[in-house]
Structure formats: structure tokens, C-alpha cells
Amino acid sequence: MKPAKILRIAFNMVKANKLRSWLTIVGVIIGIASVMAIVTTGEYFQEQVTKTMEDLGGDTITIVASYPFNFEDVEYSQESISENESGGGYGSPGTYEEPKNPELTRKDVFTLRRIPGVQYINVNVETFADLEFGGKKTSVYIRGVDPGVWPDITKKKVGEGRMLQPGDRTSVVIANELANDEALGRQIRVNQMILLNGKSYRVIGILAKDGGLLGALGGFGNSIFMPYEEIYSLSTTEEGDNGKKRNVYDSIEVKLYKNADYEGTLKEMEEVLRLSRRVDEKTQDFYVYSGKENMESVGKVISGLTAFLAFIAGISLLVGSTGIANTMFTSVLEKTKEIGIMKAIGAQNKDIMLIFLCNAAMISLVGGIIGILLGTAVVQAILFLISMKMQTPFEFALSIKGTIIATLVSIIVGLIAGLVPAKNASELKPVDALRYE
């Protein structure tokens, strides 16, 4: 038979039982659309989380002082205490020593600066303070940074005014959320003065709103960035000192050159710091934290989650495909007599087989096309909702990989599911088929 005739007969078969055909098609549609939606949303989230992690300083390395993990086993000799006293100095000499509070100091910055891969070093001193503006008060988090370095390494962007710059002293940059804090009654604008623990500062810049997941989570909230030197003179409470010692930092941020050997430099940093701080692996009193590892592990979790959800969606794809097989088996059974008639009037096995195969192909193709369209729409709706929640601009996104896999699987499984009953149909003996009622 000519292909056109086979197609027409197959199409008539699809048409003849509209309800069943559509139910089968719906099964395929749901399978494809759900795989597409899940894979695309998963990929989108992965991208967003990665971006957010980068915003949080993904590729910068942070060094903090910390107690050795097993400090109880460590004996602190008199000598090592006096050595370290030059760096910060506390703990009185005696027979029994409490483990000292480890600190990061200017010495560590100098040590790090000698490492070839290091491009920027920023120091952070953090504290909390009371902010007074327009007669109202709120509590804020203040991060003291190196005004000459921080603007270069931060992912934050200034929305109004300008960033900190070298030479700034009583200037601050504030978070967008703080500028619009309802607790203050009115908006803080650039060049206005604010009081921090009673001391006066000029707002020189307001940061742009955080995008992505971070923005959705409220960003950094009430934070203020100022030159770190200022933190030392900022008393936290009315009682006085905020406990911040001059030239002692809460953390050191290091950014490497783009082409630097990341892992190697990380190791080198640890080694030189151990040397200069006279500690070994056991007594190490600092911790080098690299956001990159974190980023990678979060990425792994998300891709694992996506794979798991895609697997679930894949099951619905499989169910849709068995729907095709079921429909095909039923229609072969239902058409047994017609198969007999067609064979009696000269139709060959391959004609019968092709008719049923085309029938299956049409169902899976229609299901596939509608599934892709619906899947695309569903994906966009999901992304639109997400972007509304996160207050980020809506972007069209579609996982090509997910779409291709979903479509291929549905068509291939649909055809295989159609093939077996089609073959059974074609091999019916005409005399048996004709007798079938």
C-alpha cells in the first residue's frame, strides 16, 4: 500500500475512537511536560544558587581565626604564648594556661601578601550598633572593610551614590533594605547623616537590591559597610568598649588572580600561615574557608535532586508510554476482524503492521508536540512565579536537554509499545481474524 493510504487509514483509526486516543495522548503529554518542567526548573535553580553563592563571595577565600579542633590535647608552652603576644597579646603568664583566643592580625596580612597568586586582600571587622536616624532607632550590623580593596572584590553593586574609596573615614555605604527600613519611618538618602552609637557618619552610597535567591531571602538586611579603622573607635554599647582591638581582624578575605592555581594557592596559604603563626596541622588556630567547595557541593545536591525528580517524572513518561501500548493492544483486539477483512482483500502483513505503527506514532507525536508546548508553558509559568517571588526579571528558559530526552523517550517508547501489538496484528491468520467477533 502507498504510504499516504496507510497514513489515512491510521489517522481514521485514531479519529474513530477519539476519547481513547485523547486519553492516551494526555498520558504522553503529562509525561513529557513534567519531565521538561522538572529538568528545566532544576537547571534554573542550580544556576540561580550558583549565582547567589558567587554573590556571597563564591571564589573569594576567607580566613578566620579559630580554636584548634582538638585544642584540649595541645599543650601551650610558655614560649609559644610569649611569641603570640606580639600579635595580639592576652592571657597572663602562669603555670596553667587557658587556650588563648586566636586572632588575625596585620602580620597575617603581610604573610599572605607574599603569596604570588594573591591579588586582593581585604580585612573585615564586624560589630553591631544602634543606628539613629530622624529620631528613630534600629539595630544594625556593621562590617568594617578595607575601603581600598573591598569595592574591588565585593559582588555588591552600588545603586545610588558611590562605593567606599581609600581615604574615606566617616563615610558609610548602607544596604538597600536599611535605606528603606520601615522602622526608621523615612527613607535614608545619599549624603544624609546617620548616628551610629551616637557618632555621626555620612551615607555616601546605597547598595543596589540583591537579585536572585539572596534578594528573595531579604538580602543582607540592616547592614552597613564602613572603613574598618572606624569600627575600633565605635563603641557598641553605652558601657563603652566594643571589645574590638586595633589591628585585629575578624576575618581576612583573599581574592586570587583569575589564572592562579586555586587549589595550590589555597594549600600554600595554609602552609605559610602555619609557619608564621608557629602552629602545625594539629594546633592550627585558623581556618581557611573556600566558598568554591561549598558552591560545588551545593551544585551537586541540586543536580542530584533534579535527577531524582526527573526520575519521578520519567516514571510518568513511562506510564504515558504504557498507555500507548495499552491503547494499541486494545485497538488491535478491537480491529481483529477488520484486520481479517483487509487481509482477505489482499492486504499484506507489512501493510497491517505499518497501519498500526503509524497509529502509535501519530498518538505519540501529537502527545509529544502538545507535551512540548504545554511543558514550555508550564516551565515559563513556574519560572515567572519564581522570579516574582525573588523579584528578579523574568527570563525565558528551557532545558534543551530535558526537552530532547522527554520527546525522544516518548516517541521511541511509544513506537516500541506500538510495535509489539502491530506485529501481533500483522501475523494474525486471516481465517482466524475473520472469525473473531
Binding site: 493510504k5 477488520e338 477483512i341 487481509k343 482483500i345 492486504a347 502483513n349 486471516p430
Partner: protein
């Protein structure tokens, strides 16, 4: 020239019914010649239907040989058999066996489409045949929209579509009332008489058998009588 179209040589057909072997046909020998109107008669269970399936190449014998236009059908592949069937034999069934999803015209077109006849020629021929059987105004109707007699006429038109040598009719009036049955029989008679078709009809009805010029009577799977019908009925038309 040998006018034999179909020859049965010691044909056995055995069915396995559970543990019992049933011999539907026992050593049947028969010949059907071109241009003959033969009726295969006998009570139910005599092997008529089995014989009809074998004549129509819908089945192959268990033993013995059947030659259709001097080809041994037992030696043919299913697809060759189908092709041979399509070109040589036109079926008329008791239950019409039209395809319910297709219109009258599409049903008549089907054998031509199977044989890949050009659309124009096929459509012209199908319309001619439907006009011949008096259904020129029902071409777009589906079987469910036609009466039994009309359906059987569509099935006659379909049987004639590929211009076969043999028309094989299985109880062609079995599902029809006597008036319509007569019309259908007259149509078959005319096909034989005027168009020179070979007609083989299977029936248990001796009245119908009177239209034929030759009777083959079966009983318990054996041919008990094979002789010309002396009192052939010639309908008026």
C-alpha cells in the same frame, strides 16, 4: 487451454479441538473451472466453511495440495498469498464484513488502494461499481447508515473492484430478508451470466443453490455429490 482455476488434490484439513482431532475435510478432490457458477452445499458442520476458506486462500490445507491458477498455495509465503488473493478472488461474506469506519466508497476503494492502483483510476472504478450495484447516491454513507441489502451490495462492489477471476460468496443472503436476498442473488447471477465471472457460492439453502449451474455437496467433510444442476434457476431482470 486448461480452464481449471482452482484444483483440490487429496485435500485434508484437520483441526485440533482440545485433545480431539477433527477432520473438517477428508481427501477432497475438486476442480473449479473458469466461468462456472458452482454452489458448495451441505448441512452445517459438513466442512463448507473450511472448503470456502481454502478456496479463498484464507487458510492452507493440512495435507494435499491446492492449486490456484496452477500455483500451489501451500508453498506460497503469506505476503504472496495475500497478493494473489487480492488480485484473483473477490469475497462476499454473510455478514458483509465492511469496515465500519469507512464510507461505502472508501470500502470499495480499499482493495484498489492495497494494490496501489492510481487514485484517479481507482476512484473512477469504485464509483462505476457502486453505480452498477445501484448505490450511486449512497457513496458517502458509512455501513451503519446503510440497510443490510445495501451493505451487501457495497460488499459485492468491493468484491468486483480489483476485477478478480473468482467471486467467492459465503451465504451471501444469510442475513437478508427474502426480497433483498433475491436481489442480491440476481446480481450474482448477472455477474456470472453477463460478465463471465467464475462464481463459487457456499450455502446450506437449496433454494439459493438453484441459481448455480453445478453443485458440490459435502457431508462430514467428504464430497458426496459433484454434478451439474439440471434445474438451474434463471431469475428475470
Amino acid at each position: 487451454m486448461d480452464k481449471t482455476l482452482i484444483a483440490f488434490r487429496d485435500v485434508w484439513k484437520t483441526y485440533q479441538m482440545g485433545e480431539i482431532q477433527v477432520n473438517a475435510l477428508k481427501e477432497v478432490n475438486a476442480e473449479f473451472r473458469k466461468g462456472e457458477f458452482t454452489a458448495i452445499i451441505g448441512p452445517s458442520g459438513s466442512g463448507k466453511s473450511t472448503m470456502m476458506n481454502l478456496v479463498g486462500c484464507l487458510d492452507v490445507p493440512s495435507e494435499g495440495e491446492i492449486f490456484l491458477k496452477s500455483k500451489n498455495i501451500a508453498s506460497l509465503e503469506e505476503s504472496d498469498l495475500a497478493a494473489l488473493r487480492g488480485k484473483t478472488i473477490g469475497f462476499i461474506f454473510q455478514q458483509y464484513n465492511l469496515i465500519p469506519g469507512m464510507t461505502a466508497l472508501e470500502n470499495v476503494l480499499l482493495p484498489l488502494e492495497i494494490q496501489e492502483i492510481d487514485d484517479d483510476i481507482a476512484e473512477k472504478r469504485a464509483k462505476e461499481l457502486l453505480t452498477l450495484v445501484g448505490l450511486s447516491d449512497k457513496m458517502k454513507n458509512r455501513p451503519s447508515q446503510l440497510s443490510g441489502g445495501q451493505q451487501q451490495r457495497v460488499s459485492i462492489a468491493r468484491a468486483l473492484a480489483s476485477n478478480p477471476d473468482i467471486i467467492l460468496a459465503d451465504e451471501p443472503t444469510g442475513a437478508l430478508d427474502s426480497v433483498t436476498g433475491k436481489e442480491v442473488m440476481t446480481m450474482l447471477y448477472r455477474l456470472w451470466k453477463e460478465n463471465g465471472k467464475t462464481v463459487i457460492m457456499v450455502t446450506h439453502d437449496m433454494h439459493l443453490a438453484q441459481y448455480a449451474q453445478r453443485h458440490i455437496e459435502l457431508k462430514d467433510g467428504e464430497v458426496v455429490r459433484d454434478e451439474p444442476n439440471q434445474d438451474q434457476f434463471c431469475p428475470e431482470y
